[in-house]
């Protein structure tokens, strides 16, 4: 009966595609999850200690809307050192409640009703709803395994209209693990300039790039800084997901607009978490980002382990160089992504997320997170292998009958 009070726009919004698997997995005992989207490392101890100390020091008040200046200064140095980005700590950086808030308020601060936003597909589950809740129209742009899930200018050009206002870039990509090469990146930058687009660049996985590859920040390219909002945070690289600290960096006019929304809706990110974030960056600056490198090396080993396992199983999988996901193709089994993941969970107790949860271009693929204990991964591979054997047997029986 109370449905009549719900905003029809929100009511019409489909729930996230991962919800079903979350519920299903809750009923399964002993399931191994490759469905997580966060590090399996605990936040480094010195970072947690800094947080505890801040509480003992009675640091429990609001901070400035933009976040502690000391944190913004550390962020400015960090971005300069690691990604050749120049942002002024006083006026061009805003600390947010995770990168998620930064995405939300960036879109709300920039989109006008009916503005179209180009979003490479598959992509992170929140982009489309956030665009729509901001009054914009999400326009998926197909990316293909043939291009290693890099977005091409050809595909972007096909979706451009007079209403196109922004491009939402996210590399290294969740769910595909793809990075965007410098060559592709330069083309995308020229495309954005040609059509005078705002680029919202979610760089949350920027530190997690493997085998000496790197992910260039688009705002560091000529002619891009003034049209880019760079979004990042501490969740993935510093294993601080639950502390919810992110940030957005943008030219002053855009940032001021975002600050307005932030001050009315959020006030400020948690002070304790901001203190922890300062410690993470400060220690990193002093020890060459030892925590980040240690975690990245460990992910890389498990990335190779999972790639090797899928290759042995005969599942096609391009080699992603970023994030902590593999995105193998399961089309050869004849099942849809959703069917595959549902049966894998119900019959063999392994949780994966269907590619379609991240957009229609994800059909035929599943997202597998390798940020999990090695022994659990090995057991998951054993179960997936058993499932593939069952599927093969079924298709043989079908042929016979």
């Amino acid at each position: 009966m109370s449905e009549r009070f719900v905003n029809p726009k929100i009511a019409a919004m489909p729930p996230s595609g991962i919800r079903k698997f979350f519920n299903l997995a809750g009923t399964m005992k002993g399931a191994i999850s490759l469905g997580v989207g966060e590090p399996d490392f605990t936040t480094p101890y010195h970072v947690r200690e800094a947080l505890i100390d801040s509480l003992l020091n009675e640091e429990t008040q609001y901070t400035e809307n933009r976040g502690l200046l000391a944190l913004r200064q550390e962020i400015a140095i960090y971005l300069k050192n690691r990604f050749h980005l120049s942002y002024d700590a006083e006026t061009e950086i805003l600390v947010t409640v995770g990168a998620s808030e930064a995405i939300d308020i960036t879109l709300r601060a920039t989109l006008r009703p009916g503005d179209e936003v180009l979003i490479p597909d598959p992509g992170y589950v929140s982009y489309q709803p956030c665009v729509e809740m901001s009054g914009g129209i999400a326009v998926p742009v197909e990316t293909r395994v043939e291009d290693e899930f890099q977005v091409t200018v050809e595909a972007l050009e096909q979706k451009i209209t007079p209403r196109t206002r922004a491009l939402l870039l996210s590399y290294p990509n969740n769910p595909t693990g793809a990075i965007l090469s410098d060559e592709y990146m330069r083309k995308v930058a020229l495309f954005a300039q040609k059509h005078d687009l705002l680029v919202v660049c979610d760089e949350i996985y920027n530190e997690l790039v493997y085998d000496n590859k790197h992910q260039t920040s688009i705002a560091s390219l000529a002619g891009m800084w003034e049209r880019t909002v760079t979004i990042n945070g501490f969740s993935k690289a510093f294993a601080m997901t639950g502390l919810r600290v992110g940030y957005m960096c943008a030219p002053r006019a855009i940032l001021d607009a975002a600050v307005k929304i932030h001050q009315y809706t959020i006030m400020c990110a948690s002070r304790s978490s901001q203190v922890a974030a300062i410690e993470a960056l400060k220690a990193g600056r002093e020890n060459g980002y030892a925590d980040v490198i240690h975690m990245r090396d460990s992910y890389n080993q498990r990335r190779r382990l999972m790639l090797h396992a899928f290759a042995e199983m005969g599942l096609d999988c391009f080699e992603p160089k970023g994030a902590f996901y593999l995105f193998p193709c399961i089309a050869s089994t004849g099942l849809s992504s959703d069917e595959f993941c549902t049966r894998l969970l119900q019959e063999h107790a392994v949780v994966c997320v269907p590619g379609t949860a991240f957009g229609s271009s994800g059909e035929g693929f599943i997202r597998c997170c390798y940020a999990t204990d090695k022994n659990k991964l090995m057991e998951a591979f054993r179960r997936i292998r058993a499932f593939l054997a069952v599927l093969q047997e079924e298709s043989r029986e079908q042929v016979v009958s």
Binding site: S16, I18, F21, F22, A25, G26, A31, S33, G35, V36, G37, E38, D40, Y124, V125, S126, N174, D211, N300, Q301, R302, R304, L305, H308, V351, V353, A357, T372, D373, K374
Partner: protein
């Protein structure tokens, strides 16, 4: 020593049952390279032995362990080595380290019972020539050993599925 060897040692420290094939996958190299590096390190006694880490508290085995601080008089020409050798040859002695600080050697000793351990200290260790004093502390509980935490109650606290 090359970087790859350190990575192999780390992989083996994590799980000494890992095969060269498995380690090669983790490190993105071939198994022949890993196997030959392991063989080299075994030859050079960099790798001395492969053994599991056991939480004896979860077994029925009854025994006591003690850390014994030992003060000794070093010997001319041999320093502490000769006396350390006399101590480590006892089968009760599991580890011996030369230490800086208020005493010279720390000796980890294991015995089936308190009585036998006390006997070891009073009848074997204390009477060795050049040993001038001992201080024995018994192990009450093991929390962490060789980097491995024994309390496994803090399992994966992450959501099973997250975006």
């Amino acid at each position: 020593m090359e970087g790859m060897k350190y990575q192999i040692l780390e992989a083996l420290s994590d799980d000494c049952r890992s095969t060269p094939e498995e380690i090669a996958v983790l490190l993105g190299t071939n198994s022949a390279t890993v196997a030959s590096m392991i063989a080299e390190m075994e030859q050079e006694k960099v790798i001395i032995r492969y053994r599991p880490i056991i939480n004896w508290d979860r077994t029925d085995k009854r025994f006591v362990q003690a850390m014994i601080e030992v003060k000794v008089t070093p010997q001319r020409g041999h320093g502490f080595d000769a006396i350390a050798k006399r101590i480590y040859q006892y089968s009760e002695v599991k580890s011996v380290y030369l230490m800086s600080g208020g005493y010279d050697l720390i000796v980890l000793v294991e015995a089936p019972s308190l009585k036998e351990l006390a006997q070891f200290v009073s009848e074997k260790l204390s009477v060795i020539e050049h040993v001038t004093g001992t201080s024995t502390s018994f192990v009450l509980k093991r929390y962490k050993q060789d980097g491995v935490v024994f309390d496994t109650s803090s399992d994966d606290q992450r959501l099973v599925v997250s975006p």
